[in-house]
């Protein structure tokens, strides 16, 4: 057995957890387990049914598969025991491997050990260890001592699981089969049960259902028992410690520490003893709180009380101080007439009204405060904004006067470095002149794209092209900060609209 190749996380587990590990193992190797299981058990099951039919004893079809379970259990155990340490065997290898496994214990399991609630735990020990009878008994005693209760609990739970699954299948079938599909003789249960054929059919159906549920639960049962066995051996032989120690050893050896450590260890005892010798008398470590704290524990309460008393003597605790507050001079006496029911209601109503009125007052006052705050904070600054806001709108297109010679003014600005201003002036002048040509009032809110649209209405294609070029140039300058070169400007300034007289 090579422990390094184990495919299961080894750690100390409770038996309950170990059974869960069995389920996880089965889930991981579901395909090889169940394929081999079906190939092995299904022919035997069908043979049993055939025998029962031939002997005309249907109950045999129910009993025989149940009786042969220790035989069936070999299959999942074979697959799982191989899968834990290496690859899971294929169904072919599993069926072939059955010949090599001992048969005598299976025969025992099929005869005098058939009704044994510890079967799941006994199986791996007998089939995997293969020891002589005397040793086996001693081994079983060691192995099963803390697990007998758990193992039989596992057996009973598995029986319950099989019942649940087979009954569930039956009930679902009854629910889902429409009553019209049933033969007439089965409508009334009493009448049907009196027919021997129906009783036989029930037994056939039951044995089929039980075979299905057995196929689901029996591998689980074997896997859980195998995991219990693995866990017990891990516990008895320290497999997890073995693995961890081997890893640690490998690390140390690989790190080349062995030699250095050897030197250390050879020297260490002398140092250690030199250190130990003076303190040799009180070698035993302290056991109780009293020894650790070098104080008797018995009068802990008295110590605590005195400590608390000294704390309370502190000026911050336990000091008396004066508190002043108002007290009614005439103490409020419960009114005598309030005992009558009407008076109580009147008092109650008056109190309610009083509260409502005070509430109303509070609401009004707070509303007034909110209104005043809003008035001062938001209304006042508003006119300042409004007075200034429209100015730039007006100024941009209409109000600033255009220079007489637009082209010269633009060129002057351009040469002076104010490229943006030059293009802005050119755009403003151009659209004003275009508006004059189109006989329209230039709209205040006209955007560049509006002007492009107006330009398309012009008849003269040369003027149209140039106006469009000017607007585009301005858009590039204004929004993308991209300017034309001097030749481009000259092209824009030649002719209308920069030169009023030209075409």
């Amino acid at each position: 057995m090579q422990l390094e190749r184990i495919g299961v996380a080894l750690r100390p587990r409770t038996p309950q957890e170990a059974m869960d590990l069995g389920m996880a193992m089965l889930r991981a190797h579901a395909r090889p387990v169940w394929s081999a299981w079906l190939l092995f058990t299904l022919p035997i099951f069908l043979l049993c049914q055939l025998l029962a039919w031939w002997l005309a004893m249907p109950w045999l079809g129910l009993l025989l598969p149940w009786w042969l379970r220790p035989l069936f259990d070999r299959i999942p155990l074979f697959v799982l025991s191989r899968a834990v340490f290496e690859q899971a065997p294929s169904w072919r290898a599993t069926l072939k491997g059955q010949r090599a496994w001992p048969w005598r214990r299976t025969l025992a399991g099929l005869t005098w050990l058939r009704v044994d609630t510890n079967r799941s735990l006994r199986l791996p020990m007998e089939l995997l260890e293969g020891v002589g009878p005397k040793q086996r008994r001693a081994r079983w005693r060691v192995l099963s001592r803390p697990l007998v209760g758990v193992a039989s609990g596992l057996t009973w739970t598995s029986i319950a699981f099989e019942l649940v699954i087979s009954l569930s299948l039956g009930i679902f079938a009854l629910w889902l089969v429409p009553s019209e599909a049933l033969p007439d003789s089965m409508r009334s249960l009493n009448q049907a049960l009196s027919l021997p054929a129906f009783r036989h059919a029930l037994v056939w159906i039951a044995s089929g259902l039980i075979y299905v549920s057995m196929s689901i639960v029996e591998p689980l049962y074997v896997a859980a028992g195998f995991a219990l066995y693995l866990n017990r051996r891990t516990q008895l032989e320290g497999w997890d410690i073995d693995l961890a120690f081997r890893r640690l050893r490998q690390r140390l050896v690989e790190a080349g520490m062995a030699l250095a450590l050897f030197v250390c260890v050879m020297c260490l005892p002398t140092f250690a003893h030199a250190a130990d010798q003076p303190a040799g008398a009180d070698r035993t470590p302290p056991q109780s709180i009293a020894e650790v704290f070098h104080q008797p524990v018995n009068d802990k309460d008295a110590l605590f009380a005195s400590a608390a008393a000294s704390v309370y003597r502190d000026a911050r605790f336990g000091q008396s101080r004066k508190v002043q507050h108002w007290v009614r001079r005439t103490p409020a006496t419960p009114q005598a007439d309030a005992s009558s029911l009407g008076g109580m209601f009147a008092n109650f109503g008056a109190g309610l009204l009083n509260m409502l009125l005070w509430g109303l007052l509070a609401v009004i006052v707070s509303a007034l405060i909110v209104f005043a705050l809003r008035h001062w904070r938001f209304v006042k600054p508003a006119p300042v904004e409004r007075s200034e806001a429209p100015r730039p709108l007006h100024s941009s297109v209409q109000e600033l006067p255009l220079p007489e010679d637009l082209a010269a003014a633009v060129r002057e600005l351009w040469r002076g470095g104010g490229r943006r201003e030059a293009l802005a002036l050119l755009y403003r002048g151009s659209v004003q002149r275009a508006a004059a040509v189109l006989h329209m009032q230039p709209p205040i809110d006209a955007t560049e794209s509006d002007w492009l649209r107006y330009a398309r209405n012009m008849d003269d294609s040369a003027r149209r092209e140039r106006l469009i070029a000017i607007v585009r140039t301005w858009q590039f300058a204004a929004y993308a900060d991209r300017y034309p070169d001097d030749a481009g400007i000259d092209a824009l300034l030649s002719g209308w609209p920069a030169q009023q007289a030209a075409r």
């Binding site: 869960d20 008895l236 120690f245 450590l261 302290p286």
Partner: protein, 226 residues
């Protein structure tokens, strides 16, 4: 490596190991709970039936409470443990290891209707056999998990010996293995103890029983004994 542990890492980098509980333990806990509730119900019905027809109504109310309220109350206010789960050492938690709260508990218990489908928990059983964390439909929907709550005692049973410091620093899991050995070696046969201790010859520099004593001394040192 096959294991039944669900590992969850918190934002602080702490890894929590949840040991998910399988169908066997859960079924046993459920059976115990059911038997207990049946006893309570029939005793209650016996007492109430002395009150006449109205008593039957009270008995039915008791049945309702035992069926639907018992689980939720136990899970939310008694640390995720019904009585059966407490006996089996199981606990219901949220899938992120936080204690279960009211809403997931109500959801997982309402969905018992689905899990119990043909009336005998057939659906729940099959689903929990298939699911890697053995959750039934209610657990999957509510985002909860049944785990093993009992911790194995670790490090408390190391026999007292003169402590010695380790000659070189070891990783946490290697230190744990040393303590584990010191704790469990009394349960092993003497031959096996020596076999295991001899593996660590590069660390202890000793053989046989001297190596065992050495590892025990290291373990005492690791546990902070003086």
């Amino acid at each position: 490596m096959l294991d039944t542990v669900r590992e969850i890492e918190t934002p602080e980098g702490v890894s929590l190991r949840l040991r998910a509980a399988g169908a066997f333990g859960r079924a046993q806990a459920w059976l115990l709970d059911t038997l207990l509730r049946a006893v309570v119900f029939f005793v209650g019905l016996g007492i109430f039936s002395m009150l006449g027809r109205g008593g039957v109504g009270l008995g039915l109310l008791l049945l309702f409470a035992l069926t639907w309220v018992y689980n939720v109350v136990c899970e939310v206010w008694f640390h995720g443990q019904t009585i059966g789960k407490r006996v089996l050492g199981l606990r219901v938690v949220n899938a992120d290891a936080t204690p279960i709260t009211l809403l997931p508990s109500v959801v997982r218990n309402l969905l018992r209707v689905v899990d119990a489908l043909p009336g005998i928990y057939g659906v729940g059983l099959v689903v929990s056999i298939i699911d890697p964390s053995a959750r039934r439909v209610g657990d999957i929907v509510a985002g909860t998990l049944v785990i093993h709550a009992d911790e194995l005692p670790a490090g408390s049973k190391v026999p007292v010996a003169a402590p010695q410091p380790l000659p070189l620093p070891l990783d946490a899991d290697e230190q744990a293995a040393l303590i584990e050995f010191a704790e469990r070696s009394p349960q092993l046969t003497p031959q096996r103890q020596e076999e295991l201790a001899n593996i660590l010859h590069p660390l202890t520099g000793r053989e046989g029983s001297a190596a065992i004593a050495q590892i025990s001394a290291y373990a005492n040192g690791l546990l902070g004994r003086t």
